[in-house]
């Protein structure tokens, strides 16, 4: 009996004057917004402190406003060099992982073959392994093979851990594709190669793009695995780590903010392009 009356009460239109009731109805939105604030807070701090002119070496307390760091982003020794190395490694490992990952995803999504389950497991394992374990074991191998640590060892490691993420992204996209489109192309006398280039690849492209974007972000941001395989090479995250001990330069915040803004713009542009394409298709 009490139960029915309670439901009846919640079903009446909300009364504006009761903040308690409003809070009850929108508790999820309030909690979600708070969570979003928690997620955004460090980015805001990074942004604000990129305009700081710290008193000592440590950029932890606000001193006064300055655009110095923004005007001289490369004013710190070695920082832009490490940034360049990180970007180079990120680009190459993205290309490598996307290429290998896409081929693997096609095999897994399109064919039934012996060893398919084992391959799926092999793809899953690197994602279920803490980075320290992967980094330390690969480092041990390189060490014992007497391979010189540096650019190439970092690149090999990055392709290794990005690969699985590309496979997952592309496989998901291929699984949701309509196989009848390819059959239709074949019915219209397209050769297998034509079908692949004109139908399959364009349809799989968003999955491949998502995988590539993820690879780039993972590679560019990786510290743990890199630290085991870098030798004396210094990537941008390693530069930040090193500088954290003796005081991070303000320029690090500039780079952090610039990356954040670029990423948001990129995703927004992607969304916009996707939206345009969808609405265009609808009008056809």
């Amino acid at each position: 009996m009490t139960r029915t009356t309670r439901t009846a009460a919640t079903r009446t239109p909300p009364v504006r004057t009761s903040p308690v009731r409003w809070l009850r109805r929108n508790a999820v939105v309030v909690a979600g917004t708070l969570a979003l604030c928690y997620l955004m807070l460090p980015n805001v701090v990074v942004l604000v402190f990129s305009f700081n002119q710290p008193k000592g070496r440590f950029n932890y307390t606000w001193n006064h406003f300055s655009t110095d760091a923004w005007q001289h982003p490369c004013g710190v020794a070695d920082m832009c060099g490490s940034l360049g190395l990180s970007l180079r490694i990120a680009v190459y490992s993205t290309i490598g992982a996307t290429l290998l990952g896409t081929l693997t995803a096609f095999a897994l999504a399109r064919y039934r073959f012996r060893g398919r389950g084992a391959t799926n497991m092999l793809i899953f394992l690197p994602m279920a392994m803490p980075e320290v374990v992967m980094g330390a074991s690969l480092g041990t191998l390189f060490l014992n093979m007497r391979i010189r640590f540096g650019f190439w060892t970092i690149l090999i490691a990055h392709v290794m851990f990005c690969l699985s993420f590309v496979v997952v992204a592309v496989k998901a996209r291929l699984a949701s594709m309509d196989p009848r489109l390819e059959e239709a192309a074949q019915d219209l006398y397209a050769t297998p190669l034509q079908t692949f280039w004109r139908i399959t690849l364009p349809l799989a492209a968003p999955g491949i793009a998502a995988g590539a974007l993820l690879s780039f972000a993972l590679s560019f941001d990786d510290y743990i695995i890199t630290s085991f395989n870098a030798g004396s090479a210094v990537t941008f995250p390693m530069f930040v780590w090193g500088s954290a001990q003796r005081g991070t330069p303000v320029q690090v915040n500039v780079i952090g903010t610039a990356m954040f803004v670029l990423a948001v713009l990129l995703v927004v542009a992607g969304q916009f392009a996707g939206g345009r394409r969808r609405s265009a298709r609808r009008t056809v």
Binding site: A31, L108, S227
Partner: protein, 290 residues
């Protein structure tokens, strides 16, 4: 295409990717297992002597670090679920036309350096900073000190700071799978539950939450695994008393140069995580996840 060639195609496609993983992921794992039972020194070289005592010594000396890692990662995962679920729910059902904007904001931290954001927490939680002073003024720090998660009037260099950093850093890994599975829940099911006189809470408990379970399982795994091996948060936000197993492995490998111990430790960590993950997946009954 003739049948023989068609049978061969998947293997040709797989060749490069699988070879890469076999050489640079599986082989190192096997090699590491062998390293962990080697003895020797850096200048004389290491040889396999089946010296299993390395495992016992490593466990005896570093078991607090293992316990601490799993504990911190567990708490951080629970916190991520508690914080991430409302946000994922909001994006899936209540965000309306703001959905894409919120999604971008959730994903964007991926593109700002992990380290820079963790360093930002040093600024936020700095002693005498506004956050710490506020928490101190409303006596929250008294309660947390009493619980032994903070010490005195500071948050930095305490377990609270490390868990807070872990929670923050792995939150997107929780939100994304949660959102993916919540998005698939048909909103009409909510209406149906409401028509059958279920309260909002009952609807959530009996309809929405069970349907989002695959996302919960995937999200907790994606958070727990990297968090248990992480050492960046413990290094930057904690003190020597909050060192996790990742810190030990890194130090043994890069500073002490005791490779057998580092290998044994990472092997134990790997085995512990695989065991936990297997039991967890079995118990939650979502084996199709893999």
């Amino acid at each position: 295409m003739n049948p023989a060639r068609r049978r061969l195609t998947p293997y040709l496609l797989l060749l490069a990717g699988v070879a890469w993983l076999l050489v640079f992921f599986v082989a190192p794992m096997v090699y590491q297992a062998s390293t962990s039972v080697q003895t020797g020194s850096l200048d004389k070289g290491f040889r396999v002597t089946w010296h299993f005592a390395t495992y016992w010594d490593a466990l005896r000396e570093y078991w607090p670090h293992f316990v601490r890692s799993l504990l911190y990662a567990g708490i951080a995962t629970a916190a991520c679920l508690a914080i991430g679920y409302p946000l994922a729910y909001m994006i899936a059902f209540r965000a309306g036309r703001w959905r894409n904007v919120v999604m971008v904001l959730v994903v964007a931290p991926f593109f700002t350096s992990f380290l820079i954001r963790t360093l930002a927490w040093e600024t936020i939680l700095a002693d005498q900073g506004p956050v710490v002073r506020f928490l101190d003024a409303v006596h929250v720090l008294d309660v947390t000190s009493w619980l032994h998660v903070t010490q005195g009037h500071r948050v930095l260099a305490t377990p609270l700071a490390v868990v807070c950093g872990l929670t923050y850093n792995f939150l997107p890994f929780m939100i994304l799978p949660l959102y993916t599975s919540l998005e698939r829940v048909d909103a009409r099911l909510h209406e149906a539950a409401g028509d059958l006189y279920a309260t909002a809470l009952t609807t959530f408990r009996t309809v929405t939450f069970p349907l989002s379970l695959p996302g919960v399982v995937a999200g907790t795994l994606l958070t727990f695994i990297p968090a248990s091996g992480d050492y960046i948060n413990a290094e930057l936000l904690g003190s020597t008393n909050q060192k996790m197993i990742g810190n030990v492995i890194q130090a043994q490998f890069l500073r002490v140069l005791d490779y057998p111990t580092a290998a044994a430790l990472s092997f134990i960590l790997m085995a512990a995580i695989l065991a936990i993950v297997t039991v967890y997946i079995r118990r939650s009954g979502t084996e199709e996840l893999v």
